[in-house]
């Protein structure tokens, strides 16, 4: 009984079980994920276009930081130097070109261990200041000018105060960027009178539109929802004059993962027509003709937008709605109904969320899937017209019953089938120790001899069901990428990025794409990359928070090599007949000490992932993988697979004491050709 229970849990948490298997390694003192360069803060977090900004950085494994790189070519950085020419550690002088458009870009640091993780860096068109002194009391409030942006950091259990002088009737907008620039802060912004007594407060990430009631001094207070502080609780506070015309402009923001599937390829930047209120009821339905592309708002509270059209029996229409993917806290739902002659309505389709292509982690403490949600509360669904006649789309926001926010926009598209797909990928880990999500935030900074897996998932559009080949190009010297294709009908594939044991130090910005045949045409779609904003060692205390990153940098670590490499003994295509057993001789190159004597390996690769896990000796130089094709029943064809598992390395950095670190280890990709079984003729 114990063994059965043990085994089943191992499936859910391969590394966790490995730790137990290895015996000596206890949870205490063991961490997840080998050290990787991570850029955690820049101060300030942005600057005005056309200016030079001095930036101080902090992070992990940045000891050898030598260059600060940005995802926009108009932002460049030089190492700060003292008058005598000596480098000032972790400080850079950044030049932001006048031509650089306002936005949020990725900053990364090049180190000896490769290129770091990304941190958001904002560019504005406004004067910026950096808070340098504590301003946690009314008396120490930092004076700022209306029309400027403050780069600030919170102090734990404190409220930052900024003072403005304003005239009666003056209208100002106050916006605070935090989550959208990678901060851990849940922002609370208040306008207070000169004594510090609050007048208006915003806690939901919205903007404050405030008209000065009487000329004088006002305070703007900023804090975290639970008054947390420290270097990771940073923000950019914009206090701008406002004429009240149009929609209040917001500070630019990074993009959350779900937005990768928007827009559909070829979609015009603007919608063809706006919604026409009032269209709240069947009687007021806005007439439309299909196909259509409409922009509207979920406004005011409990808004319902009704669109009426005619259609013929047998027609199939695809309805796509974007709102959450535009960055709004909405959950659109579309009910398509037939309008009968007597005015009664008959449901034809109820269209709700875009499901996540893979099972994502639950909110439990145990790791049970990647904590990336590639699905969305938006809509992408099919409507089949049952009869000739009149129909309507009833569009509403499931989260909008009581919220009145004119900025909650949507875009509704009804089209004939345009099969296509969108891809997003992220660094993969199998099971992680309970609570520890640290390794999810690693950059693609490869140790020589290492193989790094990326998980790529697809949101299929309008019935596209075909196979997708994954390819990665523009890699550094000595680095190869092998795409394990996404099978027809499947939603997930793997890309293995491998660094040769002798690969030189290098850095490129790669392209990752999926290739498929749709309606006889070859289609190539770029794959976006997502990553965690922060290394999270305890998922119960902090929810992993991912976003899309701007680029796909691949670098080679010149300082360290992989502790373990797993290769197949012979570089060839391994041919095997259907129904037979394939025995693959594997070789192990060990460059580090490991806890325990063996690791358990599982299999990547469409059609082979159900291959039973097998033990792999960490003591021997060779072992054998056995694949029973009689059980897996793959169809004849070419396959690429790899083996992966977790092992606990005794990691040593310099003269430091060795530390137990569990990480994922993946074999080099292995080519397999399955040939039809020979038919025995009597």
């Amino acid at each position: 009984m114990f063994q059965r229970l043990f085994k089943s849990r191992c499936v859910a948490s391969a590394v966790g079980c490995l730790v137990t298997l290895l015996g000596g390694a206890t949870a205490a003192g063991q961490s997840v994920g080998l050290p990787a360069p991570r850029l955690l803060t820049t101060m300030p977090m942005g600057g005005q276009a056309g200016t030079t900004v001095e930036v101080t950085i902090t992070g992990q494994s940045l000891d050898t930081a030598e260059a600060l790189l940005f995802s926009h070519p108009e932002i460049t950085a030089k190492q700060k130097r003292q008058d005598n020419g000596e480098r000032v550690a972790n400080q850079f002088v950044i030049q932001i070109s006048e031509d650089c458009q306002p936005g949020v870009y990725d900053a990364r640091v090049m180190t000896g261990m490769g290129l770091s993780t990304a941190r958001a860096f904002s560019v504005s068109k406004h004067p910026e200041v950096t808070q340098s002194e504590a301003c946690t009391t009314v008396q120490t409030a930092m004076p700022i000018a209306v029309g400027s942006i403050v780069n600030g950091t919170l102090v734990d259990r404190s409220i930052n105060h900024y003072a403005i002088e304003a005239s009666k009737g003056q209208r100002i907008l106050i916006d605070c960027a935090s989550k959208g620039i990678d901060s851990k802060m849940n922002p609370v912004v208040a306008v207070a009178d000169a004594s510090g007594s609050d007048l208006i407060v915003e806690r939901r990430g919205g903007v404050i539109d405030f008209t000065i009631p009487a000329s004088g001094r006002y305070l703007i207070k900023v804090h975290d929802l639970t008054f947390k502080g420290g270097p990771y609780y940073f923000y950019r506070l914009a206090v701008m004059p406002w004429d009240g015309q149009g929609t209040p402009p917001r500070m630019p923001s990074t993009h959350h993962v779900a937005s990768f599937s928007w827009p559909p390829p070829g979609l015009a930047a603007g919608a063809a027509k706006p919604e026409a209120e009032p269209n709240d009821s069947l009687a007021e339905s806005q007439p439309i003709e299909l196909p259509c592309d409409i922009e509207g708002r979920f406004f005011p509270a409990a808004d319902v937008d009704s669109f009426e059209f005619t259609a013929q029996k047998g027609e199939t229409w695809w309805v796509e709605v974007a709102s959450e993917r535009l960055g709004h806290p909405t959950d659109p739902v579309a009910i398509v109904q037939q309008i009968r002659d007597d005015g009664t309505l008959v449901d034809v389709a109820e269209l709700t969320d875009i499901p996540s292509p893979v099972k994502r982690s639950s909110n439990g403490y145990s790791y049970d899937g990647p904590p990336y949600n590639a699905g969305s509360s938006d809509i992408n669904g099919k409507v089949e017209i049952p009869e000739d006649g009149k129909y309507r789309i009833r569009l509403s926001d499931l989260f909008g019953g009581t919220r009145t926010d004119p900025t909650n926009r949507y875009r509704l598209i009804v089209r004939q089938a345009a099969p296509d797909f969108s891809l997003v990928g992220w660094a993969l880990h199998m099971g992680l120790r309970n609570g520890d999500r640290n390794a999810l935030s690693k950059p693609m900074a490869l140790r020589r001899g290492a193989v790094m897996p990326l998980e790529v998932v697809v949101v299929r559009r309008d019935g596209f069901d075909g196979e997708i080949e994954l390819t990665m190009e523009n890699l550094p010297e000595g680095v190869t990428a092998t795409g394990l294709k996404i099978a027809a009908g499947a939603t997930r594939g793997i890309v293995l990025v491998a660094a040769d044991p002798n690969a030189p130090r290098g850095l490129t910005f790669a392209s990752l794409s999926g290739r498929a045949t749709i309606d006889g045409e070859q289609v190539v779609r770029d794959c976006r990359l997502a990553s965690m904003k922060w290394p999270v060692p305890n998922a119960k205390a902090e929810i992993p928070d991912p976003r899309l990153v701007d680029q796909i940098p691949v670098s080679v670590n010149e300082v360290e090599t992989a502790g373990l490499s797993i290769d197949v003994a012979e570089d060839k295509v391994w041919e095997v007949q259907q129904g037979q057993t394939l025995r693959l001789p594997l070789t192990l190159t060990r460059r580090s000490e490991f806890s325990g004597t063996s690791m358990s390996l599982k299999t990547f690769g469409a059609g082979f992932e159900r291959n039973a896990a097998f033990d792999f000796s960490l003591a021997d130089d060779q072992t054998q993988a056995v694949i029973d094709l009689a059980k897996l029943k793959p169809a004849p064809g070419d396959y690429t697979i790899a083996f992966y598992g977790g092992a606990v390395a005794k990691y040593r950095s310099g003269d430091a004491k060795p530390k137990d670190i569990v990480d994922i280890y993946v074999s080099q990709p292995i080519q397999i050709r399955v040939v039809p079984a020979k038919v025995n003729t009597p």
């Binding site: 259990r157 208006i200 407060v201 929802l225 639970t226 806290p329 909110n363 499931l398 989260f399 009581t402």
Partner: protein, 737 residues
């Protein structure tokens, strides 16, 4: 039948079996209209007897107060093979033998043999124990006669209950009616309906119940004292309060002085003492409108939002059970606080709460659905908090004091039947949305589906796409709603006057009438007309002279606890008291996860009680109940000891950065010290006597522990600490008066 007959053999000889059958000829007796009322009057179907939940008593169960006569009939006549009735010899029926004590009965003798009730039961059995005779009419209504009256202390009146039936007949059912006074200190009522007024003046009522129907006798007991003048009326509140006092002959106390007013209103609106500077400025201000200005200043301040958010978060159960609750709790508390600060109309706030969707961070009122998960709990909390209706009883049976049935209960629950939940990334927190579908719930008693209806009011057909909670919110905020605005104004009235116009404040029902119904109606109307403006309500209350009356009683109104003839002093709430001590001593209390200087009234949830003996001892609630009564406002020995000896109080008095330390460091003259302390603690200067005593004490010499004379400054410091300690321990400080 054989079994029932055999039972007789086990009834002791000499008991009912030995007696001859009653001679009265069987007549047409209705179980519903005759027998059940007898059982009810005798207490057989009371909650503590055979209507006790879970099987009644000794295997014999009746429905509560006879609300389910069909079930009762089955149990009496059919259950246990009919052993409870003995038609062959009716007096030997177990029902009668137990009731009259012939057979040992845990409930004692409930019916004497010569009573009318006994004879009714006997006649019923003799008649063959019919359920209802042909043409048995249904009870339509009851009325009490007289319905109202004015009683002098000691005066009596005997009430009569008249029942009207569906055939138009009327019957005197006084003998089988239940009578209950709503305030036994003001009037008692005997079983036969005789009401006796006692010495306390005011309004009292007697609830009359008969077969699930209720009627109320309202009496006023005037004091009849001479009342030549009352303070001038500032608004309609005064007109109606003073009219009531005139009616009752209770002379009000005069308006309080400025210092008392400022301290009172600062504590009641802002949950804090006026600062020393505020007190001085107010006392020196000669503007006749300064009280209204002070009220406006307080209402505009964040202190008001903090204090009333503290009130609401407790009854909305913002409770921390796990460390991970912190974000949800902070967000929910902040939503209430910010809404109050922004002046969000009350109906809008409740709408946002009731129909909340999304996640807590994006829409904090969703947090209420984290704490209150079950639809039954949701409607019970909503009814009690926002409608002042206690519906809990109606889940299992017809409400004993009210008109609410199980159908009312489940039709209200149906509004919450389409709440969809999805887990979020935060453990224990769900995303809330309207799950498409027709709203309905199952009446567990009947097994029948019930559509949404709002306490008897139809709300129309709710299509599957519409969130029924929005329809409930519409109904609540409609001007015709008889509960919503009334419940709120009564709750707020109690906040300022210590007693609701209806008391308890969340138990509004026909049988618990307000002490001043005209005033309650007027406040309700004012609140609705103001657009559910909470600040406007507070303003009209606090601007009234009724609110501003002195707490010092005159020779007549000491006994008045109901009619607001003076301000009823109240002990400062735990949080307010802690803040007040901090204010006087110039110190702060540190609370986890909150900035230094955060006031106790601004604490977001109950978790701070664990680390603060002070808050626990002084009764800060744990946010487990919708009832404000969870806050303990009574005094205790522990409170006295805490104020006298607790180390936290001592540390505030001796704090190196505190007010007392600064007074010494700044070398203030003793007169200045005393004056500042009195202004800080009482919002007034010391009287001459107080000043003399304080100065004498401050300048006393002291001896050190070794007996040597203490240095002058050291002695002054310790004397000052003693003086501040003494002021904090005065009733004037501990109470809002």
């Amino acid at each position: 039948m054989l079994f029932a007959w055999l039972v007789c053999w086990f009834v002791p000889r000499g008991a009912a079996c030995a007696e001859p059958a009653a001679s009265a000829a069987p007549s047409s007796v209705s179980f519903v209209n005759d027998v059940v009322p007898v059982l009810t009057k005798a207490g057989c179907n009371a909650g503590v007897c055979h209507a006790k939940a879970g099987g009644g008593q000794n295997g014999f169960q009746l429905s509560l107060l006879g609300f389910e006569p069909q079930e009762d009939y089955q149990r009496l006549v059919r259950e246990a093979r009919g052993r409870r009735l003995f038609p062959l010899n009716p007096p030997r029926s177990l029902l009668l033998a137990k009731a009259c004590g012939d057979v040992p009965h845990g409930g004692g003798v409930r019916l004497e043999k010569d009573s009318e009730g006994y004879r009714t039961l006997l006649r019923w059995i003799q008649a063959g124990a019919p359920y209802r005779p042909p043409h048995d009419p249904d009870l339509v209504s009851i009325e009490v006669q007289p319905p109202r009256g004015k009683l002098k202390p000691g005066e009596q009146v005997t009430l009569k209950t008249m029942a009207t039936f569906s055939d138009g007949s009327r019957r005197d059912v006084t003998a089988n009616s239940l009578f209950e006074s709503n305030d036994a200190a003001m009037a008692t009522v005997a079983e036969d309906g005789t009401v006796t007024a006692l010495d306390i003046p005011g309004k009292v009522s007697v609830m009359v119940r008969y077969q699930g129907r209720v009627a109320v006798y309202n009496a006023s007991v005037p004091m009849g004292a001479p009342l030549e003048t009352v303070p001038p009326a500032n608004n309609f509140v005064d007109e109606l309060v003073f009219a009531n006092l005139r009616d009752l002959g209770i002379p009000p106390s005069p308006p309080c002085d400025d210092a008392t007013f400022l301290r009172r209103v600062s504590l009641d609106i802002g949950g804090r003492l006026p600062t020393e500077q505020e007190a001085r400025e107010f006392l020196q201000n000669a503007d006749p409108d300064k009280r209204s200005q002070a009220i406006d200043r307080l209402l505009r301040s964040a202190d008001y939002a903090d204090y009333f958010a503290n009130k609401w978060t407790a009854v909305l159960k913002n409770r921390r059970d796990d460390a991970s609750d912190i974000k949800a709790n902070f967000a929910f508390h902040a939503w209430i606080r910010d809404s109050l600060l922004a002046g969000t109309p009350y109906d809008q706030m409740i709408r946002e709460l009731l129909a909340a969707t999304g996640t807590i961070i994006e829409n904090p009122p969703v947090a209420w659905y984290k704490r209150v998960k079950e639809p039954k709990q949701q409607i019970e909390d909503v009814a009690q908090l926002f409608l002042g209706v206690r519906l809990q009883c109606a889940q299992c049976h017809h409400h004993p004091f009210e008109r609410w049935s199980q159908t009312d209960y489940y039709s209200l629950a149906a509004f919450f039947s389409r709440i969809g939940r999805k887990p979020t990334d935060t453990s224990g927190e769900d995303l809330i949305f309207h799950e498409r579908g027709v709203a309905q719930t199952i009446n567990v008693k009947t097994g029948e589906p019930v559509k949404p209806a709002a306490l008897g009011d139809a709300v129309g057909e709710i299509p599957p796409d519409e969130d029924p909670r929005l329809r409930l919110a519409d109904w609540m905020a409609s001007e015709e709603n008889p509960f919503f605005a009334k419940a709120l104004v009564n709750r707020y009235w109690k906040h300022f006057f210590s007693r609701g116009l209806v008391e308890p404040e969340d138990d509004i029902r026909d049988t618990n009438p307000p002490s001043n119904p005209e005033l309650l109606d007027a406040l309700e109307q004012h609140f609705v007309e103001s657009g559910y403006d909470l600040r406007a309500l507070i303003r009209v209350i606090t601007e009234s002279n009724a609110y501003q009356l002195s707490a010092i009683p005159n020779e007549h109104n000491l006994v008045d606890r109901q009619n607001f003839s003076r301000y009823y002093p109240k002990r400062l709430q735990a949080e307010v008291l802690l803040d007040a001590i901090d204010e006087v001593t110039g110190t702060t209390t540190s609370f986890a996860n909150l900035p230094i200087g955060t006031r106790a009234v601004a604490l977001p949830d109950n978790s701070y009680n664990r680390a603060s003996p002070f808050l626990r001892v002084f009764g800060r609630p744990e946010a487990t109940s919708v009832c404000e009564c969870e806050r303990v406002q009574s005094g205790s020995l522990a409170q006295s000891l805490h104020l006298m000896n607790a180390s936290d109080l001592k540390s505030k008095l001796t704090a190196g950065n505190g007010r007392l330390h600064r007074m010494i460091a700044d070398k203030l003259a003793p007169e200045v010290i005393v004056d500042q302390l009195y202004h800080a603690a009482f919002a007034r200067p010391p009287s001459e006597t107080e000043l003399d005593k304080a100065l004498a004490y401050l300048t006393e010499s002291r001896s050190a522990a070794d007996g040597t004379a203490m240095a002058e400054t050291a002695a002054l410091r310790e004397n000052l600490q003693d003086l501040a300690w003494a002021l904090i321990n005065t009733k004037e400080f501990l109470f809002n008066h």
